[in-house]
Every structure is written in structure tokens, then in C-alpha cells.
Assembly symmetry: C2
Homo-oligomer: 341 residues x 2
DNA sequence: ACAAGTATTTTACGCGCGTAAAGTTTAGCC
DNA sequence: GGCTAAACTTTACGCGCGTAAAATACTTGT
């Protein structure tokens, strides 16, 4: 770096001996210029330290390189992990990802979509809040901006949906639990935030019927996204009232299970698959924290990488002009055997 | 909304009966126009559905309304929580926050700063990686962009530092542990990512000396940001080798403590302050997850809200033109008594 | 070496808004 | 009602780059 800061592309062009439009073309796509030219530009780039003004770039461009990534709750490590994956796929493909969280609030979700609009993104990867989402606003947004929906599906909105196969999820872990001990009852929130919860309950019911067992669902009260606390309080109540019909409890998700494990601990109930354990508890999601519960949580994990990669690739294909009919991709989860069940 | 989309400010101006420069002024600061004018604009805004083009806005403006928020690891709920707080303070003050994570990688941290530069932000709230950070790059960035450093301090860089008082933190919880049982030994990473860790160790040593006890530090191997696993593996090893000199263990941070609790569970060691518990374990940070460990973790919590508010306000003041000398603000933590110690 | 085809340069305009300056209207006050 | 200061309108220019069209230079194959 010669220290001398370049003001604009014009200046950089003359200093590098290339015309400005060609420089512009290079920044738009380095492979669109002859390699000899590219080398000259890149050499100049190193000694001159110039970066185009992104505002001027995007202002008069039909399509920006921005990609929005929206998750319902960033403080949930599960979403943070997916967001990180998506971010890196975008970066690798030459896009500029921007991260947003709805923080569990439908009003904020609408605000995020508004902000996103003004960013004029080439595309958006969006995990909706679910039940609480403003469907109309979501639909309108998807009509205006190329959007891939992930994690939880809301109608047939956007270009495509990518997520996990909740039916396979629950069927698989239910099967495991039935084969290794008492058939499980199902522990869930009465009014779950996420539509996946309904699929999981249904899948549990189906699986139990298939296996010839009587299903039993325990639905606990609680609003919002504080799943652990809901699981803990609901767990206490259910334990006190003897609402668990068997010694095996399949939770609708890992965070609920984490709360239930805390409740069990507080009630001095030994959890696990050992001889002297009173109950077994399993979760669903492969939450980053599930390894560190006591006992470590048996769960079924999302294919984090595959989901993010599939979603990202679908978006890039759509941005690239590939038109394909709406499609739902649901990837299978992998059972993670640990000590809790 | 009349449905008819407005193309630009010119059009919106004529349709609302106000001149374009005044509209521009309004968007820059709604309070800078007469209230009667403001009402007219806002009425038009509702029926016309117009939003200024942010790229055109920022391209020829000396100062944007953008604020960058950078954390070292967004998948750590502790940082996610602080980031959420900061984000909301920015929004409330009329800024446009953008969230970035270094994902524990120094190279990424540098990349984030590069991206941030091109965003021409009015200011940045940055929590550095710490030990692994590229000091020179950080310093250069802070020279170019008004930056408040938070969480962990690296030299006297930026406009100011806001974080927690690690000396108070550790002294306070050490005091508590000494008063309620055996004096603690200190469990930490040998090469911690975060400089706060050094302060905490030192504070532990000071406190123990003050109280007239012999300090004992257990430093475990492990690189990176997978603190739970480092705590778990290190915990196993330390337990097997009998390296814990007392029955009370103060961990350098909550995530390490979470790992240690898992190790204890796996070794069938009962943790807590009950009669038949073998050891007590305490953490530091008030990690969102600490409530749900088994047993729930006694810890000392950051003043999340106060830290974010102080940092945000310092930045806004600096953006507003208030020049003040570099200053370090360290807020006290609050002891959270739970069952683990 | 020559043709065809592609890459680059030149030239020129426009994007949507910030901003400054000068003139005009409005509001507030005695 | 007349004064002043503030707010507004008009006019005009510029920001840094995208992009289109036409002219020119280069590469490639034979």
C-alpha cells in the first residue's frame, strides 16, 4: 500500500491504466475481463488500496449482491449455528450476507422485512417465527423479494422451503425409544411457537399407532420463546400430578427437554437409561447445548450443514435465473444416542 | 396505501405538496422541520408508502446512520444477548445497527472490520476476540472509525471501553465461597481467548491472599472457543489426578463451569451445597444457560443492560460530537445464588 | 497475414439523494 | 401591524458508480 488513498473508481482507473467501465465490470465479476487485464487490476489493487463505494455501487444497479439472513431468535444457539452456516455459504458465493433476528417478536419480524426491502437484496434466507408471524406481510414480502424459507414452513410461500423432515425425526426417535424400553409419552407446549411442533406431535401419534402402542401427549402452558423455563415449570407440574404415563418422555424439542431435566433434578428424579434411573428423557433438534446437560441428552439432530447448504444453493440458483416451481425439501435427522434415554 | 408506488423523493415531494429538500431534511431528522410540515409529510407517508433509497442517501452523505455491532462469537448466547441489547439501543436512538460476528476467528475479525469500513458507519460497538485479535488492524480500525470497545479490553484503543469489573466479579464470588464453605480453587484455561480471564485469575489470587488462604489454580489445556468441551475434558483429567485441592471450584467462566458439571456428572460426583454433595462449583458471567444446569449454577452476572446502555450512550455521545478522553467503565456484577455452590 | 470475434476504451447519460445559496413565506412576539 | 428569526422553496450542482452504444484494440484460428 502506497498510503495514498484513492477517492474513486475514476482515479483508480487512471492510476492502474485501465478504463473505468472495465474496472466496474471487474468488480461486478472478476471473471468477465481478460486475464491479463485482471492481473493488472489486481496488481494495482494491492499497491493502491482501493475499495469501491458500496452505496454508489448499489444505488443504480438492478441487482445488489446483498443477501438477508433472518432467524426468529438469534440468542438460541440452534439458530445462531444455522445463521453462521448460511453466512459462510453466502460469502463463499460472493454475496454480502446481513444477519437479522426477529427476537421472537412478530412486530420486529415485520420491521426486519421492511428494513430488508430497503436493502434491495438479491435474495433472502428467512426462518419465520411461525404461528405468530404476520402471514400477509410474509406473503407480500416473498412476492417482492426472492426468498427461501427455512426451518419452519408457513404455507407455500417464497421460492422454496428447506428444513428438516419432522415426521422422520419423530418417527425415528420414537422407534428407538420403543425398541429400548417403555414406549414414550410426548411432552410439548400447548401453543407452540413453531409449526414444526405440530408435525412432531402428529408424527408421534402416527408412530405409536403403527407400533401398536397407546400414545399419550402432555401439553403444558406457556407463551413465548423461553422454552427451557416452560419445560421446567411444566415438568414440575406434570411430575407432581403424575401426568407422565410411562417412564419415557419424548420432548418436542431440546430446549423443552433441558427445562424438563432441570425439573427432574430439582425433584431429585434420576434420569437416564441406567438400572436405578426413574425415567428416560429424549429431545429433538441436536441443540448445541444438548451434549452438556446432565445426563447428556439423547436427541435427533438436524443436518445443519445440509440444510444450510441446500437453502443457500436454492437461493443462488434462483438469483441466477433458474426458475423452478415451489418445492419443499425436508432432510432427515440423525439420532444421537447419549445417556438420557 | 394507495398502491401507487413512488419512485423517488422528487415524486413523493410533489405528491405531498412539500419541496424535496424539506423532505430530505425530514428524513434526516424529523424534528428539524416545523410540526405542521411534519404532520403533512407523515400523512402523505401513510397513504403513499414511500421509503427513501438508502444507497442514494448514504452515498453523498458525510455521516451515515449506520452502527456496526461486532461480537467475537454470536453462537454464544452471552454475546447474542448483549448484541440484542445493543441493537435495540441503536434502533431506539434512530440508528441502523448491523450485526457481525467474528466467529472466533481472527482472520474473520479483520474481514469484518474491512466490511465495516465500506459501510461508512457513524460508529461501531466492538467486542474484540481478545488475545487472538490482530492488534495492529484493530488499532488502525479504531483510528479510522469511531469505536467503542466492550466486553474485553485490548490496550487503550477506541473511544472508550465499557465492560464488567472482573476484579470485583471474582473478588465478590470468592468472598462468598470463602464465607460459606471451603475456600475455592480456581479452574481456568491455560491459554484463555479472552483477556478478562487474566484479570479474574489475578483477582482470585488477590482475594485469597487478603482472606489469608492459599490460592490454587488449575489451568487446563485447550484452544479455541469450545469452552464447555474444554471444561469437561479438563475437568475429567483434574478429577482423576486429584488436582482440585479443595471441595470448592470457582470457574473462570460459566461455560467452563458447564463443562465441569458435565464431567462431574459423568464421574458420578454430586455437586452442590447439600450435606451429601462432594464438591461445590461456581461460575462467572450469568450465562443465559446457567439457570438450567444440574444443579443450577451459582454465578456472578454481568449487568447486561447497564453495560450495553453505557456503551451505546458513549457511542452516541461521541457521534454527537462530544469529545472526551479515553475512558474505561467497568460495571459491577451481581451474585446469583443457586444450588451449585 | 487476414478475417472474425471478443475485449476494451471512449463517450455520455442517468440514478436518487445531499447540500449549499439565495430568495420567499411563515410563525412568534411586542 | 410590523418586526425578526426560523422555516421553507427554488435552483443548481455534485456524489461515485452502472450502463449503454459506438469506436477501437486485441486475440484466435487458419
Amino acid at each position: 500500500m502506497t498510503g495514498s488513498k484513492i477517492r474513486n473508481m475514476e482515479e483508480f482507473a487512471s492510476l492502474s491504466g485501465i478504463s473505468r467501465p472495465t474496472i466496474s465490470k471487474y468488480f461486478n465479476n472478476p471473471n468477465s475481463v481478460r486475464s491479463s487485464t485482471r492481473n493488472k487490476i489486481e496488481a494495482a489493487l494491492e499497491r493502491l488500496e482501493y475499495r469501491p463505494n458500496i452505496y454508489a455501487m448499489n444505488q443504480n444497479r438492478k441487482l445488489t449482491k446483498n443477501v438477508g439472513v433472518v432467524v426468529p431468535l438469534l440468542s438460541d444457539p440452534y439458530f445462531a449455528e444455522i445463521a453462521r452456516n448460511l453466512e459462510q455459504h453466502c460469502l463463499a458465493a460472493g454475496y454480502r450476507p446481513t444477519l437479522f433476528s426477529s427476537h421472537g417478536d412478530p412486530a420486529l419480524e415485520v420491521e426486519v422485512m421492511d428494513t430488508l426491502r430497503s436493502l434491495k437484496p438479491a435474495g433472502v434466507l428467512l426462518a419465520p417465527l411461525g404461528r405468530a408471524s404476520d402471514r400477509a406481510a410474509l406473503k407480500k414480502f416473498c412476492d417482492d423479494v426472492p426468498t427461501i424459507i427455512f426451518d419452519s414452513s408457513v404455507d407455500e410461500i417464497g421460492l422454496a422451503f428447506v428444513g428438516s423432515d419432522n415426521f422422520q425425526f419423530t418417527a425415528h426417535i420414537t422407534d428407538y425409544l420403543c425398541r429400548t424400553g417403555e414406549p414414550p409419552c410426548f411432552f410439548e407446549m400447548k401453543t407452540p411457537a413453531n409449526p414444526n411442533a405440530h408435525r412432531r406431535r402428529q408424527s408421534y401419534l402416527n408412530a405409536m399407532e403403527t407400533f401398536g402402542y397407546t400414545p399419550h401427549v402432555i401439553s403444558v402452558d406457556g407463551e413465548g420463546w423461553g422454552f427451557e423455563e416452560i419445560g421446567r415449570l411444566g415438568g414440575h407440574e406434570a411430575l407432581e400430578q403424575g401426568r407422565f404415563s410411562t417412564n419415557t418422555i419424548l420432548c418436542s424439542n431440546d430446549r423443552l427437554a433441558i427445562g424438563l431435566l432441570t425439573a427432574c433434578f430439582e425433584k431429585n428424579i434420576r434420569v437416564g437409561r441406567c438400572e436405578d434411573c426413574a425415567i428416560r428423557v429424549a429431545g429433538q433438534d441436536g441443540h448445541p447445548h444438548s451434549r452438556y446437560t446432565c445426563p447428556p441428552l439423547t436427541t435427533i439432530s438436524h443436518a445443519y450443514n445440509a440444510v444450510s447448504q441446500t437453502a443457500a444453493e436454492a437461493l443462488f440458483a434462483a438469483i441466477g435465473g433458474q426458475v423452478s416451481p415451489w418445492k419443499s425439501t425436508r432432510l432427515e435427522g440423525k439420532l444421537i444416542l447419549r445417556d438420557s434415554a
